[in-house]
């Protein structure tokens, strides 16, 4: 793999902003969608702009994910045709969500140039809002320490933090050197860098092997974490206990990039039942929790989105009750995607498993569902 090498001298913002500015000035694209700091300072918002001066204030890789980038791009491109060529730079999990939303026809990549970037992880929103200055310091130190425990738990076990389905990838992992790499990642990306007259001939072996090393390490951590998760939430009663703090605000759903339904099934009329239904259910158990159908909501959501879950962790980051829900969802997503030999966001041309039919699946599924939890536990042990 080859790319351009730029020395950033500790400030990665400037070269990236300059790159985007050059793209605007040379009319390679007409506008940029990028995070910017909000006026009060402790959070970031996605801004679409074609003003080069505004770009000076951009934060190409903010310390936190306030709104999942795929959601921002979806709100922009879901409807209608494009007039403008737009460039956007996002974290790999955001780009992977974009790939999934594209398959789900919830956005359009027509005239969109995707820039991805090596992601050292993101900080918990709550902590960052508490002390943004310290958060900024912590975050800038992350580029030197890719195994920091300051980043969100789900980021610590993320093995897909680097190059993904984008047009141009920005590599940040350079060991001791303050270098970054601009890597063409599609024909379109090659053309853009050619137009920008960038010399993309540098060899990136070192970068690739560093990425591989950390990715391998993270994958192992991830598997270890899954063993814990399986033990902790593997049974219905554990699951109920785990979710008992849930107050049914459905924030996890509304911040999830994959949960795109305009009206969630669990908020629809289907779940407004006649009053006697609730009393009858209470009579079966003695008492019945309200608002109703809490566990069903989570299981339903899991079933709806786990095939496309990109483990971005927003669900947990935004949960007002701080329920560590992203591990549960991420675990189920990994296992579900494994069954179908599918990785969310990996390949834009691979159809969603539920949209295709393979005869052999008919044979696999009955086995899966007749196996009891205990049998599975024994097998896994």
């Amino acid at each position: 793999m080859k790319g351009a090498k730029i020395n950033h001298d500790g400030d990665i913002r400037k070269p990236i902003i300059n790159l985007l500015k050059a793209g605007l000035e040379q009319k390679i694209f007409d506008a940029v969608l990028i995070p910017m700091r909000i006026p009060s300072g402790e959070s970031f918002a996605w801004i679409l702009t074609q003003d080069v001066d505004v770009l000076d204030e951009a934060y190409p890789l903010p310390p936190v994910i306030s709104v999942q980038g795929a959601k921002a791009l979806s709100s922009l491109t879901r409807l209608g045709e494009a007039d403008m060529k737009i460039a956007t730079l996002m974290r790999p999990c955001e780009i992977r969500a974009i790939t999934e939303l594209n398959k789900l026809q919830q956005l359009s990549l027509d005239n969109i140039s995707l820039f991805s970037i090596d992601c050292p992880g993101s900080l918990p929103n709550d902590e960052y809002m508490g002390d943004a200055e310290k958060g900024d310091e912590d975050f800038s130190s992350l580029l030197d320490n890719w195994n920091s425990d300051r980043i969100r738990d789900i980021c610590q076990i993320c093995d897909k933090f680097s190059i993904t389905v984008s047009d141009i990838h920005i590599g940040l992992m350079a060991g001791e050197n303050k270098d970054m790499f601009i890597i063409p990642n599609s024909l379109k990306g090659e053309k853009i860098l050619e137009d920008l007259k960038m010399d993309t001939d540098q060899d990136l072996k070192n970068w690739s092997s560093l990425i591989e090393e950390i990715s391998r390490d993270r994958k192992q951590k991830r598997e270890e974490k899954w063993k814990e998760v399986r033990k902790e939430y593997g049974r219905a009663d554990n699951l109920l206990n785990f979710l008992s703090q849930c107050i049914a605000c459905h924030t996890c759903r509304s911040v999830c990039p994959i949960c795109y339904c305009r009206q969630c099934y669990f908020e629809s009329d289907a779940f407004k039942l006649p009053s006697y239904n609730y009393l009858e259910r209470a009579q079966k158990k003695g008492s019945f929790r309200l608002p109703p159908d809490n566990l069903l909501f989570h299981l339903g959501r899991m079933q709806h989105m786990s095939m496309s879950c990109v483990s971005c962790g927003l669900c947990e980051d935004m949960c007002p009750m701080s329920i560590p829900i992203s591990h549960l969802f991420s675990y189920v997503a990994d296992k579900n995607q494994d069954v179908f030999d599918y990785v969310a966001g990996k390949d834009p041309d691979e159809p969603l498993p539920l949209t295709i039919y393979r005869t052999e699946e008919l044979e696999i599924i009955p086995e899966m569902y007749t196996e009891t939890h205990e049998e599975r536990e024994r097998k896994n042990a």
Partner: protein, 375 residues
């Protein structure tokens, strides 16, 4: 028909803690077949989780904690949700905080709740702790301190800001009201029946009958303190509350999760306007907008959503504070809404949930309003 509070000051003094008294008479009601169920706050699990629950047998009342200072969901909204399709056909006792009861009344006025066959039990409410304190079990550690403050007629520390500034802590239309704040002896209960149904129910209780006035000295003193706290709360949030700059400052960090709407008992639309097709725009609209402005924020309509919700619900906002508690980015939504709510409600001389017969101001027409607006 429900009567206004204080008109029928018929009460009892019982030598038992208020929470025990409530559980006692709920049990009585079950055993004498006067009710088929109870909706109240319930302890869910050993890890300190609570929820409202519908309870169908006296044995299962053992987990009920009707006065525990937490509000995992606004019970008024919950009762609205489950009675929206049809009323209960059998009597159900519901224990509600005053703001929950007022929310239920507002929902009924919108045909989003049905109050038939409900026995309404409420109390003078000392307030609840923020929900994040349910998470780490902090409330349990504070519970003695909480009840001590009430004994001394002071506002418990660390309760929700909107609870600190709540002047509507005496329930309006309950069948039975327990005067928690007006009671200087924590080992006894002051209980008032406001309706004929309430009178029948308290007849079966052991206690010394007494004329109990809810607008008593202790409650009036608490109201005075709350009024002060409210003033202070509004002053603290003054710069952020109103005006366009203030709106941007307050809601700038809003991530558009709309959870404030999801948990709001008044926001009960099947499909919120701001989730509907009407607020999805074509790409070209955004693109043409940035040729006029320096930039636009995406997802769009952050402030528009807040103002829209405000316009839709402020006349009925009961100041319960759920919205602020669930806000993942800690915007003081409830304070801002309470402040705007107060202004709107004063303009229409309307107290949400006070009078079940009073029509919603936006559904009625009064010619003089026309003149006022013109000015």
């Amino acid at each position: 028909m429900k009567k206004e509070r204080g008109k029928m000051p018929e009460g009892l003094k019982i030598k038992k803690k208020s929470s025990d008294t409530i559980l006692d008479f709920l049990k009585n009601l079950f055993e004498s077949n006067q009710i088929s169920g109870v909706i109240t706050l319930n302890r869910l699990s050993e890890n300190g989780a609570f929820s409202n629950s519908i309870i169908s047998s006296p044995e299962d009342l053992k987990f009920a904690v009707p006065l525990y200072p937490l509000m995992p969901s606004n019970a008024g909204g919950v009762v609205g949700h489950i009675t929206r399709q049809c009323p209960f056909s059998v009597p159900i006792a519901v224990v509600l905080r005053p703001c929950e009861l007022r929310a239920l009344v507002e929902l009924k006025k919108r045909n989003h709740a049905n109050m038939d066959n409900l026995i309404l039990i409420s109390y003078t409410c000392p307030g609840v702790y923020p929900l994040e304190m349910m998470r780490d079990g902090k409330v349990n550690q504070l519970i003695d301190q909480y009840w001590n403050s009430i004994k001394e007629i002071s506002i418990p520390q660390d309760i929700r800001p909107t609870c600190k500034g709540c002047e509507e802590f005496i329930p309006y239309i309950a069948d039975i009201t327990i005067d928690v704040i007006g009671n200087d002896d924590p080992n006894s209960t002051r209980i008032v029946a406001n309706t004929e149904q309430g009178k029948d129910i308290i007849k079966s209780l052991d206690g010394e009958s007494a004329e109990i006035e809810l607008e008593n000295e202790r409650n009036l003193e608490m109201r005075e303190k709350r009024r002060e706290a409210r003033k202070q709360l509004f002053e603290e949030n003054d710069s952020e509350g109103l005006g366009f700059e203030g709106l941007i400052k307050s809601f700038g960090k809003c991530v558009g999760c709309h959870s404030c709407r999801t948990v709001c008992p008044i926001c009960s639309c099947d499909l919120c306007y701001f989730d509907s097709r009407k607020t999805e725009y074509e790409r070209k609209k955004f693109e043409s907008e940035i040729t006029r402005k320096k930039g636009i924020r995406l997802p769009h309509d952050t402030i528009f959503y807040q103002m829209g919700r405000m316009a839709h619900i402020s006349i009925s906002c009961v100041g319960c504070g759920q919205c602020a508690d669930v806000c993942p980015v800690n915007i003081p939504v409830s304070t801002i809404f309470m402040k705007v709510g107060q202004a709107v409600q004063e303009a229409f001389d309307y107290v949400p949930g006070k009078d079940i017969e009073a029509e919603l101001p936006v559904t009625t027409y009064e010619p003089e309003e026309f003149v006022e607006v013109g000015e």
